[in-house]
C-alpha cells in the first residue's frame, strides 16, 4: 500500500493531467499589488492621519505625542483608566524601561522576564510595547517578536495593550509589509482590540485578548 | 443594419403585449425590426434545470434562427444572459462566437448604446417602481439603462424600490421545486413594492413580472404590472412628429 502522501500526490498529478491529451494543466500568474497602482500614494502627513483615523475606527484610543513625551502621556492615560482590584503591575518592554522610575501612575513597572503567566492573568493591568510597523490603509499594527517588543503572551493576556509607534514606522498598506520579515519568529497582526461579532453580528470588544488598545504615535 | 427581435418564449406565448410594444417602439425609432418565426426557446430552462444536452441543441437552433441579423434585441434579461454569458461555455467559446452570441443586446443597450437615444418625447404621468432583475444587474450588467430611458418621459415619478437588487424568488423551476422559499421571497419583494405606493410595477424581465403579478393578483391588490418596453411604447404612442432623437451608431 502506498503511503498516504504518495497516494495524495499521485491523485493530484492524475487530476491535473488531461485525460484526452495527457498534458498537464498549464497556468500562468499575473502580478498586481494588493492595493493597486491606481491609488495615489498619500503624503506623509496624510498617511499618519489615515493610520490614526483607521486605528481609531476599531474603537481604539489614539494619542499623538512628541519625541520625549511618552512617559508623561502614558501616566496620564493610566490615570484615566479605572483601577482593577489586585492589578497593580504594568509590564513594559525592556527598551522602554529606562523611561520609568519603578512606578508609573501608582503601578509597578516590571520587566517581562520577571512575570509569570499567572501574573499576566491576575496582576498585570496592561503592557506597554513597541512594534515592527503600522499599516495606514487597514489601521494595523504588526509585531514580529523582536527585541523592541514585549513577548506575545504579555500583549495577549492582560486587559490593556499600549503600543508605541514612531511615525516613520507607518507604511501605506500591506504591500511588501509582511514579505520583509524574518519568518523564523511568529508574526502577529493586530487591528484594534480583541472583538467578536458572534452575537447578532454586534461588535463587542475584548472577548479573549485585550479589551482596550491604546496607540501612542510619536511625531517628530 | 438588420435587426431582429428575440422576445423570449414566455413573452411570445404569455405576455405578447410586451413583445408588440418593443416592436412598435423600435419602428417609431426608424428601426426596421423582424420577428424571425423560426425562433423558439433559448434553452435557459433546460440548462438551469440540469438538462444540458437538450439545452445545447436548443442553443444551436436558437443561434441559427438569427444567423442573418446584425443585432438581436432581447426584452428578457435572463434569456439574453443565457445567450451571451452561458452559450460560450455550453457550446464551446468558438462556436458561440461564430454564431454571434455577442450581437444579442437588451433593448435598453440597443437604444442607448447603439442608437444613442438621448431624449424621448412622451408622457407617462404615473408613479412607477422598477424591480432590478438579477440578470439585468449581474448577468448582462445593464446598470440603470432602463431607468434612464424611463426617466426621459414627461410626468413619470420613479420611486426607488427598497432592496431592488434582491431576487424576486422566481428562478425558473426553482419556483416549483422550492416553492416555499420562492413564495417567501416573492412576498417580501411585494411588501417592498406596496410600500413604495407605486401605481405601476415594471422590470426588464417578463419572468420576474409573471411571478410578481401572480402574487399581486392572488393578494387582490390594485397594481398595474408591465414590462418597461410597454411604458415606453404607451408614452410615445400619441406623438405625431418624429418622436425620438438619437445620434445613431456607436
Amino acid at each position: 500500500m502506498p503511503s498516504s502522501k504518495n497516494e495524495i500526490l499521485q491523485r493530484i498529478r492524475q487530476a491535473n493531467t488531461s485525460q484526452v491529451t495527457g498534458v498537464r494543466t498549464q497556468s500562468t500568474l499575473i502580478r498586481t499589488t494588493p492595493m493597486g497602482d491606481s491609488e495615489a500614494k498619500l503624503d506623509h502627513d496624510d498617511l499618519v492621519k489615515q493610520f490614526i483615523e483607521r486605528v481609531e475606527d476599531y474603537r481604539s484610543t489614539m494619542v499623538e505625542i512628541g519625541p520625549d513625551e511618552l512617559a508623561s502621556a502614558f501616566e496620564k492615560v493610566l490615570l484615566g483608566i479605572e483601577a482593577r482590584e489586585g492589578f497593580d503591575t504594568i509590564c513594559v518592554a525592556p527598551p522602554l524601561l529606562h523611561l520609568f522610575n519603578k512606578t508609573v501612575a501608582g503601578y509597578k513597572v516590571t520587566h517581562p522576564d520577571r512575570l509569570t503567566l499567572k501574573d499576566y492573568n491576575s496582576k498585570v493591568l496592561g503592557t506597554l510595547t513597541g512594534c515592527a510597523i503600522g499599516l495606514a490603509a487597514s489601521g494595523t499594527i504588526i509585531f514580529n517578536s523582536s527585541d523592541d517588543e514585549a513577548p506575545g503572551i504579555s500583549t495577549l493576556v492582560p486587559d490593556h495593550l499600549f503600543v508605541v509607534i514612531n511615525e516613520s514606522q507607518i507604511a501605506q498598506d500591506i504591500v511588501g509589509a509582511i514579505t520583509s520579515f524574518d519568518l523564523g519568529r511568529p508574526l502577529t497582526m493586530v487591528s484594534g482590540p480583541s472583538a467578536t461579532s458572534d452575537i447578532e453580528l454586534a461588535r463587542v470588544e475584548g472577548v479573549h485578548g485585550p479589551r482596550n488598545l491604546t496607540v501612542f504615535v510619536v511625531r517628530q | 443594419m438588420k435587426v431582429a427581435i428575440f422576445p423570449s418564449c414566455i413573452v411570445d406565448t404569455i405576455f405578447p403585449e410586451a413583445g408588440a410594444a418593443a416592436i412598435r417602439l423600435l419602428e417609431r425609432l426608424g428601426v426596421d425590426v423582424d420577428f424571425p418565426l423560426e425562433q423558439t426557446c433559448c434553452g435557459q430552462m433546460h440548462l438551469n434545470t440540469g438538462y444540458e444536452t437538450r439545452a445545447r441543441k436548443l442553443a444551436a437552433k436558437h443561434l441559427s434562427s438569427f444567423s442573418q441579423y446584425d443585432w438581436v434585441i432581447g426584452i428578457s434579461t435572463s434569456c439574453t444572459t443565457t445567450v451571451r454569458e452561458f452559450y460560450p461555455q455550453l457550446l464551446g467559446a468558438t462556436s458561440a462566437e461564430v454564431g454571434g452570441s455577442g450581437k444579442f443586446l437588451e433593448l435598453s443597450e440597443f437604444l442607448l448604446d447603439v442608437l444613442g437615444v438621448t431624449e424621448l418625447e412622451g408622457t407617462f404621468a404615473k408613479k412607477v417602481t422598477f424591480h432590478t432583475s438579477c440578470h439585468s444587474l449581474r448577468g448582462i450588467h445593464l446598470g440603470d439603462r432602463p431607468q434612464r430611458l424611463l426617466s426621459m418621459l414627461e410626468g413619470i415619478e420613479l420611486i426607488p424600490l427598497p432592496k431592488s437588487d434582491s431576487c424576486c424568488g422566481f428562478g425558473g423551476t426553482f419556483s416549483i421545486k422550492n416553492s416555499a422559499i420562492s413564495t417567501v421571497m416573492m412576498e417580501e419583494k411585494l411588501a417592498n413594492v406596496y410600500w413604495t405606493g407605486a401605481e405601476v410595477l415594471t422590470a426588464a424581465d417578463s419572468s420576474c413580472l409573471m411571478n410578481l403579478s401572480g402574487g399581486i393578483q392572488a393578494a387582490k391588490k390594485q397594481l398595474t404590472v408591465m414590462h418597461y418596453a410597454e411604458i415606453l411604447e404607451i408614452a410615445t404612442r400619441q406623438s405625431q412628429k418624429k418622436l425620438l432623437n438619437h445620434s445613431g451608431g456607436r
Binding site: 467578536t196 | 405578447p16 438551469n48 416573492m186
Partner: protein
C-alpha cells in the same frame, strides 16, 4: 459544461464513506442519510425567529462589506489576481505541497498526510495521546467539523473545548453550526444567554446583553487557556515558500491557543496552499473585507514550524515549544480537482460573503443545507465532497441570482457550478419515478421547443389552456403537483388573445398593445 461530468465519480474512485462526516442530515450515525434540502428548508423557513436573526445579521454585514470594498480602488483586479493564484497553485499542487513540507520540516515542525477523515482523526488522536493530555482547546476550524473530530476525540477520552464564542455556544447548546463565520447566527442574545445559564453560568446571573455574554465566556474559557497543553487549529493559508501557516481571527482565542500551549496541531485541507508571502498579502486584503466587512480582522497570526515557547518562569524557559504538527487533508479534494468545472470551488477561502448575500440562505438558514458547509458555497462543495447520490437536491437550492458570484473574493462562478452539478444530478436520477417523470417531461418540452412547427402549435395551446383552464387551475391547482406550490400563493397569468408570433403573422400586433 459537464464535459467532465463522468469524472466526478471517475478516475479517483467512488466517494468513500468516511466523507459523510460533514453531512448534517437527520439520519445520523455511521450510515448518514442523504440531504433533503426541500423538505428541511420548508420546515426551517417557518422558524420566524431564526429568519429574523439571520436577516438582521446579513443585512448589517452586507452594508459593512460594501463600504470597505469600495475603499479598494482595484478590487476587481485583486479578485482576478486571487483567483489566478489559486488556480495556479491547484495546477501545481503536488509541487507546492512538497515545498511546504520541506520548509515546515526545516523549521522544526512535522507534516502528516491524511487521505480521508478517518485517517486525519486517527493521526490527531495519536498526537494528543503522545503529549499526555486528556483535553484540548480548539481554534474555530471548518475542517475539524468536516472530519467529525470533536465527537471522535470525546469517544476516545479526550475532551475538546471550542474557544471561539460562537463555536462554544453551539458546543454547549448541542447545536450544529449554521454559518461559516458566525456559527451561532441562528440564535439571538436571549437564546444565547439562556444557553449559558443552562450550562456553566448561574441561573439569573446574566443579562441578555452581548458585552455581558462575551464577558461570561471570557471568564469561563480563561482558565482553560492557562491550563491546556495542546491546541488544535485549522489554517487559513499555508505558504509554500516559507512553510508558514496563517490564522485569521477576531477574538484572540486563536492567538491564545497558538501562543500558550506547548503543543499545537493544525489540520488543514490541501487546497489552502498559496505559493508566496506576497500572495498572502493579496488574500489578507480580500478576506477580512469580504468576511466581517472590516478593513482587517483584529488578529492574524503567522508562524513557521516550531516557534519558541513563550518564555516565562512558569514554563520551561530553556526549551523550545515541544511540538508543532500539521496534518494535510485530502478527504475528497483531489476528486474535486479532477472536475474541470467544479474544481473552482477549491479556491474558496471560507469568507462567507456568499452566505451573507444569498436570498435563499437569508430565508432558510444554514441548517437547511444539512452540511458543515452551508449556503451557496455549501451547495457546490458538499455535493462534490460527498457525491451526487448523498447530496440529493442541494444543487437546486438557488435561484441562480448570481449575488454570490458577484461578491466572491476569489471569483468562484457559483451559478456555473450549480448548473454543472444539476446536470450531473439529472444524469443520475434515472432510477426514481419522479426523476424519470421530470426527465420525460423535459424531454418532450425540449423536442417541442426544438421544432418550430411544434412550437407554433404549443404556443397557441398554452394560450387556450390559460384561457379555459386558468380560472379553474387557480382554484384547484394547489392540489396538483408540481404546480401546487406556485398556485398556493400566486395566480396563473391571464391568457393573451393571441401569441406574439400569430399576431405578427396576421399583422394584428396593435391589438395586443395595452390601452
Amino acid at each position: 459544461m459537464s464535459k467532465t461530468s463522468s469524472t466526478i465519480h471517475g478516475p479517483n474512485g467512488s466517494i468513500p464513506k468516511a466523507n459523510t462526516w460533514l453531512l448534517r442530515t437527520e439520519h445520523h450515525g455511521e450510515e448518514r442519510g442523504r440531504i433533503f434540502f426541500k423538505s428541511r428548508s420548508t420546515r426551517e423557513i417557518r422558524n420566524l425567529q431564526m429568519r429574523k436573526n439571520i436577516s438582521h445579521a446579513t443585512t448589517t454585514i452586507r452594508e459593512k462589506r460594501k463600504r470597505v470594498v469600495s475603499e479598494v480602488p482595484n478590487w476587481e483586479e485583486l479578485r482576478t489576481r486571487a483567483s489566478q493564484i489559486k488556480q495556479h497553485t491547484l495546477a501545481n499542487l503536488d509541487v507546492y505541497l512538497e515545498e511546504f513540507e520541506r520548509n515546515v520540516t526545516r523549521a522544526g515542525g512535522k507534516v502528516h498526510w491524511a487521505r480521508d477523515a478517518a485517517q486525519a482523526r486517527e493521526i490527531a488522536l495519536e498526537l494528543v495521546r503522545e503529549s499526555g493530555a486528556s483535553s484540548v482547546i480548539k481554534v474555530k476550524s471548518m475542517v475539524t467539523e468536516e472530519i467529525g473530530l470533536n465527537a471522535y476525540l470525546s469517544e476516545n477520552g479526550i475532551e475538546p473545548t471550542e474557544t471561539d464564542l460562537a463555536e462554544l455556544i453551539c458546543q454547549l447548546a448541542g447545536d450544529e453550526s449554521s454559518h461559516i463565520l458566525v456559527p451561532a447566527i441562528h440564535r439571538n442574545r436571549v437564546e444565547i444567554r439562556d444557553i449559558f445559564e443552562a450550562t456553566f453560568a448561574q441561573k439569573g446571573s446574566l443579562e441578555a446583553d452581548p458585552p455581558k455574554i462575551a464577558e461570561a465566556a471570557r471568564k469561563h474559557l480563561r482558565e482553560k487557556f492557562l491550563r491546556s497543553t495542546v491546541a488544535i487549529s485549522g489554517g487559513n493559508f499555508l505558504v509554500a515558500e516559507t512553510g508558514s501557516v496563517a490564522i485569521v481571527e477576531s477574538e484572540g482565542n486563536g492567538r491564545m491557543c497558538l501562543t500558550l500551549p506547548n503543543n499545537v496541531i493544525s489540520i488543514v485541507g490541501i487546497e489552502k496552499l498559496i505559493p508566496t508571502m506576497e500572495d498572502l498579502e493579496v488574500f489578507l486584503t480580500l478576506l477580512p473585507r469580504s468576511s466581517t466587512g472590516e478593513r482587517m480582522n483584529p488578529y492574524t497570526t503567522i508562524w513557521t514550524g516550531r516557534p519558541p515557547a513563550q518564555m516565562t518562569p512558569e514554563r520551561e524557559t530553556t526549551e523550545d515549544r515541544k511540538s508543532y504538527n500539521i496534518i494535510l487533508l485530502d478527504n475528497g479534494r483531489t476528486r474535486v480537482l479532477s472536475d474541470e468545472v467544479g474544481k473552482q470551488a477549491l479556491a474558496c477561502i471560507r469568507c462567507s460573503a456568499c452566505l451573507n448575500v444569498c436570498p435563499v440562505y437569508e430565508r432558510v438558514g444554514g441548517h437547511s443545507y444539512e452540511s458543515v458547509y452551508p449556503g451557496p458555497i455549501g451547495a457546490i462543495l458538499t455535493p462534490q465532497l460527498v457525491g451526487d447520490a448523498l447530496a440529493g437536491d442541494l444543487a437546486f437550492a438557488s435561484t441562480l441570482c448570481g449575488a454570490c458570484y458577484e461578491v466572491c473574493p476569489v471569483k468562484i462562478n457559483i451559478p456555473e457550478i450549480l448548473i454543472h452539478l444539476r446536470s450531473i444530478h439529472s444524469d443520475h436520477k434515472r432510477d426514481s419515478v419522479s426523476g424519470n417523470l421530470e426527465r420525460g417531461s423535459f424531454g418532450i418540452v425540449g423536442i417541442v421547443m426544438g421544432n418550430t412547427n411544434l412550437f407554433n402549435i404549443a404556443s397557441a395551446s398554452v394560450s387556450r389552456i390559460l384561457k379555459y383552464g386558468g380560472p379553474i387551475l387557480n382554484k384547484i391547482g394547489k392540489y396538483l403537483p408540481p404546480i401546487n406550490g406556485w398556485v398556493e400563493s400566486r395566480n396563473l397569468p391571464k391568457a393573451p388573445n393571441d401569441s406574439l408570433r400569430d399576431a405578427y403573422r396576421k399583422g394584428t400586433l396593435d391589438a395586443l398593445l395595452k390601452k
